[in-house]
Each structure stands twice: as structure tokens, then as C-alpha cells.
């Protein structure tokens, strides 16, 4: 195997896979896209200048791959939407909740579902900041943003999540007491 691949795999594979998985929420798709990340990385590895850390560089490529994926996705989804004259709101990702999530408590799977309501940008920030536990500075580097943009996007993302969580819990009348959290 290629030594570059070997090294990148052992250091970052799970991080990158996890990032992409949470972005697209589909294991097969994520497996495909993570390969795309490697292809882009291996093609441009010589050009990696070490200006940023290898890790944030890798995430920045993963981010581009995810964005390209959504762009394509949007293309055909919108076409179908137009054809059948659905409202876009109805077309939702109905990929099943993965086992790992289903095994967790209700709140986790709820917040997992609510992530759908964030924009792509917001979701990226949430994943990088909380699931990958990158610092604000690292996140800014990976996304090519300023730190303040990371902060505001993060703030908005949390707001969206909060609103969604609250609405959903209110709707589900059967919601048990344990997921009611008072401030």
C-alpha cells in the first residue's frame, strides 16, 4: 500500500469517516465519499504546504467533498421535486437511524434527527466542534472561515437545534418526563 495512504489512514481515518458520516447520515454514502477524500488527498499531497495542520487540511478536503456531494444531491432532488410538484419540505432524508445511534438514549437520537434542520454550514460546525472536538481555531482553519464566522454559525446552529428539539418534544405528547429538561 502507498505509504502516504497508510499514514493518513492510521492517523485520521476514523475522524474523517465520522465527519462525513454525520454530514450525509448514510453509511454506504460515507464509505464512498471517504474514498473520494483519499483520492483528492493523494493527488494533491505533494502540494500540502504545512501551512495548516495535516488534520485540518484533511478536514478541509472532506468538507469540499461533502459540499460537492450535497450540490449534486440537490440537483436531482430538486428535479424530482419539480416534476412531482412536491413542496421541498416534504422531501427529507429518510435514511434509517443507524444502530450506533439507536442504541443511545432518546435524546441522542432526537438531536441526531434534528441535525437535518441545520444548514450544511451549521452542521459542519456542530460536527467539527462537538463531535470531533476541534477548537474554534482548528474549525476555522478546516472550513477556511474566520473565527468569528465559526462562532456565529455555531451559535445559530445551536439555536436551530434548540428550537427543533423543543418543538418535537412538545409534539410528542407521550414524551416521557426524563427527556424534559428544565433550565
Amino acid at each position: 500500500m502507498d505509504s502516504v495512504f497508510d499514514e493518513l489512514y492510521s492517523k485520521y481515518h476514523h475522524d474523517v469517516f465520522q465527519f462525513i458520516f454525520y454530514m450525509v447520515k448514510n453509511r454506504e454514502q460515507a464509505e464512498d465519499l471517504v474514498q473520494e477524500v483519499y483520492i483528492r488527498v493523494l493527488k494533491s499531497y505533494d502540494r500540502f504546504e504545512g501551512k495548516s495542520s495535516e488534520k485540518t487540511w484533511l478536514f478541509s478536503i472532506a468538507r469540499n467533498v461533502a459540499i460537492d456531494y450535497f450540490r449534486k444531491q440537490k440537483g436531482w432532488r430538486q428535479k424530482i421535486a419539480e416534476k412531482f410538484d412536491w413542496t421541498t419540505g416534504q422531501i427529507k432524508d429518510d435514511s434509517p437511524i443507524p444502530e450506533e445511534i439507536a442504541l443511545q438514549n432518546e435524546e441522542i437520537s432526537l438531536i441526531y434527527q434534528c441535525l437535518d434542520h441545520c444548514t450544511v454550514d451549521q452542521r459542519m460546525v456542530i460536527i467539527l466542534r462537538y463531535i470531533q472536538e476541534l477548537t474554534i481555531i482548528e474549525t476555522a482553519e478546516a472550513l477556511g472561515w474566520t473565527e468569528s464566522k465559526v462562532k456565529t454559525t455555531q451559535h445559530r446552529a445551536l439555536k436551530v437545534l434548540k428550537k427543533e428539539m423543543e418543538e418535537r418534544m412538545a409534539k410528542e405528547g407521550t414524551t416521557s418526563e426524563k427527556i424534559r429538561v428544565e433550565r
Partner: protein, 409 residues
């Protein structure tokens, strides 16, 4: 209606608790998929350029046959008409075997630039064929009279000290002189500047000798400094390659006969490690002196397998002014190595005739195969019988050494 309130902290905590999702695939499978897709992509990427080349060849064929038809015999115009037809019909495959016979058979002669324009127009049909550089850069077994000649390879940096070009010369054996003596004597006779490389040998202020049978002793006067990492790396690489080509097993460094040499980057070093990884891929390096025929240069990055090396040879190494040695329109579909023999299956659509440096491409493949300890290579391809002296579908012996140069004694 129930209402629950969430604080940012609670949300953040929840998010941090999200489970880790892992990819359960074997990394080898992933790598396999990637390599597959990398090679597939390359197939696609040459479609447009090769279509464009085909169009150009077609136009040239049409134009040249028209010009020929005006002032030549009816036989010739019939021939050129044939050429047009052929060009139209077969796009890239203009060179059929009969033409190939004309062009490539004469290719066996070394260092002959053919076809020249005259010859080409005489043939009529071949007028549109790219002229292939009939120059073998490497030294092959048949070039050396083993009983009477020594093959000496010198490591010479390019003018920027970025890469090391191995240069091979053939020197008649002299009785009573050791290989080492002949080697050091030859150093003074190298024409680095003429060859477009950095003036290197004889190494200034460096005294070389062989001690303990197989150790290269390198002695420099005190006060000698190797400033700048490029110089330093060039110095150490030249020394290492010199020891290797002499078949020595170690290097000891001395300053004024005291152990150790002070090197800017490394500090004081008592010796140099000769165990490098090998398994390098050969690229093209065009010197200012000869922009037509490249040097074949092993780039200092080792590969774990020859597939990866051959793949990498399709891309330039821009940082080191090295050009791809395998054109994009040549596609190696299958690689199979066994007992010193490497078999490459070329895609039948690979275009072997539109690249001027196709012979050097084959040489680069052979030299890279040698890096991976193969001594024979078989290239499977059915559209041509041979190119120059390289016969397809038959075993080709790898060269003895790269980049042959003549020196006058």
C-alpha cells in the same frame, strides 16, 4: 402543552455524547477501491486530449496528402488518398503495422533521429506520424563488452542541486587498475556542464579512498563547510551514490583525517547510512542542453509496490522539475510480477505512437522495474509488434544502468 427548555450547555453536552461511528472496512479494501478509481479517472481524463490529437492528425493527414497530390506521381497520390482514408477510418491508429515496419525497424540503430521529413514524404503515408526520438538513454547488456569494459555510474546533481542524475559511462578495462582507481580517474573526464548538469567531479577538496576493503573513506580539509541544505543534500547523496555504484558497504567521514564531518543540517556526522529504501520511480528530466531527449531520473521517494510507482510516473513532480515519464494516454491495465519477471498488460486503446518520447517511457518502466528487483519485463500489447528494439509480448531485459554518456579518453 408541555414545554421543555434546553440550554446551550445541555445541547453541547448531548452533542459530545454522540456515539463514535466507525468504518469497519479493511484499509486494504479501501486502498484497493481508491487505486481502482484513480486509474479509472485517468482513463477518462485522456479521452478529450486524445480526441483532439486525433483531430489534429486527421487534419495534417488531409492537408499533407493534398499538397503531395499536386506535384507527385499518380501512384503517390493514390497512396496519400489511402492515407486520408486510413486516417479517417482509424483515428489514432494511423500507424498500421506496415508503416510501423518502416519507422520502427530502422529504429534499431542507435541515436538516429528518424523519420526525417524527407523520408517521411517519400513514404507519403507516414508524413503525419510523430517522429519518435530514436535514442536509447540507458545502457543495455548488448551495449557492453563485459570482458573489456567497465560500466561506471556517477551521481551528478542538476544545476539547481535539486535532483541527482545518474550518468553512466563505459570505460575500457585496464590491467592492474582497480575499479576504484578507474572510477576516480574517470571523474576528471566527465563533462557535466556540457550535459546540462552541475559541475561536480572531481569532488573539490574531497579525498576519496577505500579502507577496510569495502568502506568509502571521505576526507575533507578543516574549514570546509557545506552551506545551504541543497548543497549539503547534494553532497551526501553524491557520496552515497558513489559508494553504492562502487559496490561498497559503508561510508566513514573525516575532517583532516579526524573522524566526523560537520554538516549544517545534521551536525557532525561520523558516517553516512547506505541503507536507503530504493524502490524509486523513474521520471523524465529535461536539461537545458537537450530539450528533446530527457534524462531518466529516479526520484527520491520510495514506493511499496510497483503499481503505485507506475501510477505515480503519470504525474509530474513539479517541485523537482521532473516530468511524468508515462503519458496519460498509456494505460497499464494489469500488473503481474513473478520470479524476477514483470508482466504489464497495456490497454489496447493505449496510444503508443503519438508520443515522441515513447522509447524513453519504456526505458523508464524498465528502470523502475529494475528498482523493484525485476530483471525481465514483458509488455503485452497487440496493436504493434515492436517499438524500436523493444518487442511487445516478449521478455525484455532491464537495462544495466541509466543515462549513457560518451567521454573521450
Amino acid at each position: 402543552m408541555r414545554k421543555s427548555e434546553w440550554s446551550d450547555e445541555q445541547l453541547e453536552k448531548l452533542l459530545r455524547e454522540m456515539p463514535k461511528i466507525e468504518d469497519n472496512r479493511d484499509p486494504r479494501d479501501i486502498y484497493q477501491n481508491i487505486s481502482l478509481r484513480l486509474s479509472k479517472r485517468k482513463q477518462r481524463s485522456w479521452l478529450i486530449p486524445s480526441a483532439a490529437t486525433a483531430a489534429v492528425i486527421l487534419i495534417v493527414a488531409v492537408l499533407s496528402s493534398n499538397l503531395l497530390g499536386e506535384n507527385s506521381s499518380s501512384e503517390q497520390s493514390a497512396e496519400s488518398g489511402n492515407a486520408t482514408e486510413q486516417a479517417e477510418r482509424s483515428e489514432m491508429n494511423i500507424i498500421k503495422d506496415e508503416d510501423a515496419g518502416v519507422v520502427y525497424d530502422s529504429a534499431v540503430e542507435e541515436k538516429q533521429d528518424i523519420p526525417t521529413n524527407d523520408e517521411a514524404t517519400e513514404e507519403g503515408v507516414t508524413s503525419s506520424i510523430t517522429d519518435i526520438k530514436q535514442e536509447y538513454t540507458a545502457v543495455y547488456a548488448e551495449d557492453v563488452n563485459g570482458a573489456e569494459e567497465n560500466t561506471l555510474t556517477f551521481a551528478i546533481p542538476d544545476e539547481q542541486n535539486q535532483i541527482i542524475v545518474p550518468i553512466t559511462v563505459l570505460i575500457p578495462k585496464e590491467k592492474g587498475k582497480s575499479l576504484f582507481e578507474q572510477y576516480t580517474e574517470t571523474m576528471a573526464k566527465l563533462h557535466e556542464k556540457e550535459w546540462g548538469l552541475a559541475e561536480t567531479f572531481p569532488l573539490k577538496n574531497v579525498e576519496l579512498s577505500v579502507i577496510k576493503d569495502d568502506i568509502l573513506k571521505v576526507n575533507v580539509p578543516s574549514g570546509q563547510t557545506y552551506q545551504g541544505s541543497a548543497n549539503e543534500i547534494a553532497f551526501t547523496s553524491v557520496i552515497k551514490k558513489t559508494a553504492k555504484s562502487l559496490g561498497l558497504t559503508g561510508i566513514e567521514l573525516y575532517t583532516d583525517n579526524q573522524p566526523g564531518i560537520e554538516l549544517g543540517n545534521e551536525g557532525e556526522l561520523p558516517g553516512l547510512d547506505l541503507s536507503d529504501d530504493g524502490n524509486y520511480a523513474y521520471y523524465f528530466y529535461y536539461s537545458n542542453v537537450n530539450p528533446e531527449v530527457p534524462y531518466l531520473v529516479p526520484y527520491e521517494k520510495s514506493f511499496t509496490n510497483i503499481e503505485a510507482a507506475l501510477n505515480a510516473m503519470k504525474e509530474n513532480v513539479d517541485t523537482h522539475q521532473l516530468s511524468a515519464s508515462i503519458p496519460q494516454n498509456i494505460d497499464i491495465e494489469e500488473i503481474h510480477g513473478e520470479k524476477g519477471m514483470l508482466t504489464l498488460q497495456l490497454n489496447e486503446d493505449s496510444d503508443m505512437t503519438s508520443t515522441k518520447t515513447i522509447l524513453q517511457t519504456i526505458e523508464a518502466i524498465l528502470l523502475t522495474a529494475k528498482e523493484f528487483n525485476y530483471n525481465k519485463v514483458k509488455i503485452e500489447y497487440s496493436k504493434l509488434e515492436k517499438i524500436g528494439k523493444f518487442v511487445f509480448n516478449e521478455e525484455i531485459n532491464v537495462p544495466i544502468a541509466p543515462n549513457k554518456r560518451e567521454i573521450l579518453n
